[in-house]
Amino acid sequence: MLEIKNLQVEVDGKKILKGLTLSIDKGQVHAIMGPNGAGKSTLAHVLAGRAGYTVTGGSVSFEGQDLLALAPEARAAAGVFLAFQYPVEIPGVSTMNFLKTSVNAVRTAHGEKEYDAMDFLKFVRAKTKTLSISDDMLKRAVNVGFSGGEKKRNEVLQMALLNPKLAVLDETDSGLDVDALRIVGEGVTALRSPDNAMLVITHYQRLLDYIVPDRVHVLAGGKIVRSGDAGLALELEKKGYGEFAAEAA
């Protein structure tokens, strides 16, 4: 489904990713772990199409399509979803309006009929309950005044509504207490299916207690330096990233 080959990326002239290769099949969950500054978030942003990242080499193919050639909205329509590490606040735009605009934009891109307000409300209500998202939250402006947990739950709600083929979770566990982590972890796990794939980017192992990965990769110094099964995450939790600092240098 996702084929990243020798990806090289610069930010402000500084090389961040230095030849990253990664392949994810549908139905799989891959985790990328690594020390701070390894390039984890850069990878997430490049996949979603954020401006300010210069791809200087390599390729990213998503279901046979050149992903890097697509505008961010076209990537979303193609089925790529990024759960933001820092969800953005949008004053003046209600969460409900934001969700409806997003879902209808993707439906339009797929040639499907837009939801009207009533149908959309039903569609949303079916997803909000398990994520402990209240109607009040939906009325409030997007992420404005939301707690850390509310912001991340809102990200998972968007993921549930858009039902992406590939979800990239960028440090979705950061800033969450134990209860919020459980809701988010269970929420994401419920979305796992044989037809989609996930790339879970995290610094810690704890989110992987909920979303057990098929493969775990260590990203250090802009490259994947080691890969293994779920056991690798536990090993990293014990030993830390110390040994990879040398490899990356």
Partner: protein
Amino acid sequence: MTVGTRIGEGIGWLDDLRHQNRTAFHGLPTPKMESWKYTSLKPLYGFAFARPSSHEPPAGATEAALAALGGARLIFVDGIFNAGLSRLIGPAMPLSLALLKDAGAVHARLGHIAASDDPLTTLNGGFIDDGLVLMIDGATVEKPIVVEHISTAAPDGIASHPRSVIVLKANARATVIERFSGTGRYLTNPVSEIVVEDGAKLTHIRLFEDSEAAFNLSHLTARIGKDGAYESHVLATGGALVRNEMRIELAAAGADVSLNGAYLGRGKQHTDHTTVLRHSAPHTTSRQLYKGALDDASRGVFQGNIYVGEGADGTDGQMSNRTILLSDRCEMDSKPQLEIYADDVKCAHGATVGELDEDALFYLRARGVPERQARELLVEGFVAEAFDALAEPALVELMRARIVHWLAAGKTLREAA
């Protein structure tokens, strides 16, 4: 300027008032006047604006969304009341009718608090065209009173000088929605005098949707009594040049004023919001929030002055003006001012000028929203925040719908750099 038959001619005090004002008028404001530094009326010099004649407005000139509110409707065309299009129920009536019914009651109010040092108010006073008269004794008018000022084109331009008087006596409550619209080149020079007495509340919505060749120079004076409230919501999307000046006195303890404004400009539009709030009694509160988005070579002006007089202790005055620039050619001049002569006051002002939030734009696009639509949604959200204070959801929706309409009509909402 041509002189002809005007409403109420032959009523002695009104003839005198017009005469006094004509004598006192010595020309339009110039940039040498402090409060006209950023707004030039040069395009108006030498323009022979004709006096209004009774035109029928073009089909569809009135606003269906306002008619649907179901209350009283007063339609003025080129400053002349159009009975056929109007719906007179309740206490609201045109000035022309109020003069026939009880000229004395009008005399007791008209011209009493209008600014004497504003050339445009003086100009209005020299002509005094038809406008709204609303006088309520302690009652509540449930449905919004809709007033539309429609101007039609004439070869040499039309000038109208609508005059409105609103008096809410103790504990009265009403909502007034005014809309300015028209076709072609014209000048509308409306003057409103508003008195909100003890415990009364006026919610005042004004839509400046004039034609893109038009000039609208609006001047409003208000006086708020003990525990009285004046809540204003202004949306300016039209006109070649719109100036909306409001001078409000918080005259007794507990007076509460909330001014909310949104302005959207494109092409070469010029929009000016000028406010002077005079806190002259203790424990009065004012809130001002003006938000705008400017595109192309449009220009915005905000001048806000909070004046706290001697003895007005416990005054709480907050003023905020925030603008998004959507092009490199637009310009915003923001001048908030505080003048404080009392102790123990809580006053603050802030002004920001910025661009659309790129992070928010990316967030929306990453959720599948095409760039143009994402920009529109962000601008809508930004300016519509000015109407968060509106209690009636239907009216919030009305304002939002007009913002959305304006955004959809644009060609040049700034593309990604």
